[in-house]
């Protein structure tokens, strides 16, 4: 009787069903996720006492003043955001053809092969991949060996001598760091674009051709705008992942700091949790601005 009437109640009350469905995840998100975020925000309004290295638990803007007035900190922000931007753009360019091929042309085994190929790196430990890349990019590594055996050593030397992106070896250069970031986040760009392109009915492309558009025009006027939500979703992944990462710049690259590393060091070794908290709000603000810009530019219009 009770279970019967409960059935009836659940059947009649849709809002009750939705409520029961959403309570567990909302509790989790509300306390664990948003809770820690607000704790972080609160921490950033404390400051550390320079002499005693103790956190003074009084609301103050001193930490933010320190963050925004020290040129070194701004350098770190600019370097990290710049890296995130170029990694995102490069990923989009590399991912689109692959995603398009997967969605519109690949069939059967080839399609399965591509899926596995894209997913496979994600099954491996992140650290293993980063250290593997360190070996690939090292001075006596596979890549420099490849350059030498192809007689292209001068090309590699010229790349490494380039100001800003070069360094003593690929594994300790901005260029190497860029390559590893793109490698790591490429699947996160491919999969959303692939999903978006797959949702475009073939008849749209035929209709465009039928109405007189050549393939290039069909791409820019029909395929690209309709794939845009996928590109936007993928770029949010690559952008956010690059902004927050603190392992890759530590293993690869020229020991210059990125936001993630600063947060890691400040809350760990230095024990300056307020400063780490303030710094970790930078990526959140940047991502927020990025989403706002993407929406303004109409990236989600086709959703």
């Amino acid at each position: 009787m009770i279970s019967r009437s409960l059935d009836g109640l659940l059947h009649r009350r849709e809002s009750l069903r939705v409520f029961l469905l959403l309570v567990p995840p909302l509790l989790w998100f509300g306390t664990v996720y948003l809770g820690s975020l607000f704790a972080l925000l609160a921490q950033s309004f404390y400051a550390i006492d320079e002499f005693t290295a103790k956190i003074i638990r009084e609301p103050t803007l001193a930490t933010y003043r320190q963050l925004l007035t020290q040129p070194a900190n701004l350098d770190i922000v600019v370097r990290t955001v710049g890296m995130a931007v170029v990694v995102t753009i490069a990923s989009a360019f590399l991912a689109f053809p692959v995603a398009y091929y997967m969605a519109r042309h690949a069939r059967g085994r080839i399609r399965a092969l591509f899926y596995v190929g894209v997913m496979l790196p994600m099954w491996t430990s992140y650290l293993v991949k980063v250290y593997a890349w360190r070996l690939i990019l090292a001075n006596q590594g596979i890549l420099s060996w490849l350059f030498t055996s192809l007689g292209q050593q001068p090309l590699l030397d010229r790349l490494l001598a380039a100001p800003g992106i070069g360094g003593p070896s690929l594994s300790s250069s901005y260029l190497g760091l860029f390559v590893v970031f793109v490698y790591m986040w490429l699947p996160f760009m491919i999969l959303p674009i692939q999903a978006a392109v797959e949702r475009i009915p073939g008849s749209y492309i035929e209709a465009s051709a039928d109405l007189g558009a050549n393939p290039a025009t069909t791409f820019t006027k029909v395929i690209f705008p309709l794939a845009m939500p996928g590109i936007a979703a993928g770029s949010i992944f690559t952008f956010a992942l690059t902004l927050g990462d603190y392992i890759i710049p530590q293993v690869i690259g020229d020991s210059t700091n990125y936001i993630g590393q600063v947060v890691y060091k400040q809350q760990g070794v230095a024990g300056n949790v307020p400063f780490a908290a303030a710094f970790s709000l930078v990526p959140i603000v940047v991502i927020g601005m990025y989403l706002w810009l993407a929406k303004r530019l109409g990236a989600f219009d086709a959703l």
Binding site: P201, S203, Y204, E206, A207, S208, A209, D210, L211, G212, A213, N214, T217, K221, V222, P225, L226, D301, A302
Partner: protein
Amino acid sequence: MLGPSGSGKTTCLRLIAGFESPDSGAILLDGQDVSAVPPNRRDVNTVFQDYALFPHMTVQENVAYGLRVRGVPLAERLARADTALELVKLGGFGDRQTSQLSGGQKQRVALARALVNQPRVLLLDEPLGALDLRLREEMQIELKNLQRQLGITFVYVTHDQGEALSMSDRIAVFDRGRIEQLAAPRELYAEPRSAFVARFVGGSNVVEGELARRITGVAQAFAVRAERVRVLAKDEPVPPAHWSCEGPLVDVQFHGATSRWQVAVGGMLFAVERRDGAAGVTGSPVRLAWPREAAVLLAGPP
């Protein structure tokens, strides 16, 4: 182009549009071989079965798309798009999003988008398939009027023989990838050339082989339409110059103005269309007769 699903009519339409290329033979447009011309440079436009309206463009942008990719200046293409929308009675709908339209309205937008380019041939792939009966009949009349008004050749794919008969000047009946017969509707209806056409277009009774020999004395297949067959009253003699047969009444389908009797004759079901609304008793023996000139002799094996 009329035929059951899978008979090749849509493939044929796609060949004309240029989405498929023929393994052999040629596509002629006004006498010119266009087989190697890609769809974007063919002077034909298509109304797709699913309408294929671009969801990221307004109604007006959809209609103006063909002009835009051909480089027609903005002011002119917007004006022409509005004219085309008025032609399909959607004036003032230009600023709507395609998602705000009903099925019938989407259909009209797809039509306007194709017609605005003034193609030499307009291809329509079961354009009314998704509409309800009343709307479909309305659109049939409208499409016909449009065709007369514009003087553009319409190539129309349908599996509905009524639609084909009422709208076409010429019908190609497709079966298993071949054109069974190409003729004007009246000719197709009155003189089907094969058993398939007789069955598919007229819903005719097709009598073949031994049964044909028993009725007419010659073993040649013939077709007779259900509305030409009459049920004889008890003891009524077979009228002169008529053929006749008999069998038990199997089923009666009531259609309102008419009813359809199914009579089992020598292993086949004979359909008879009656206008008197007689209910009949299933299982009782029935005698049928039809004038000899109503039987259309069919050539060759079915």
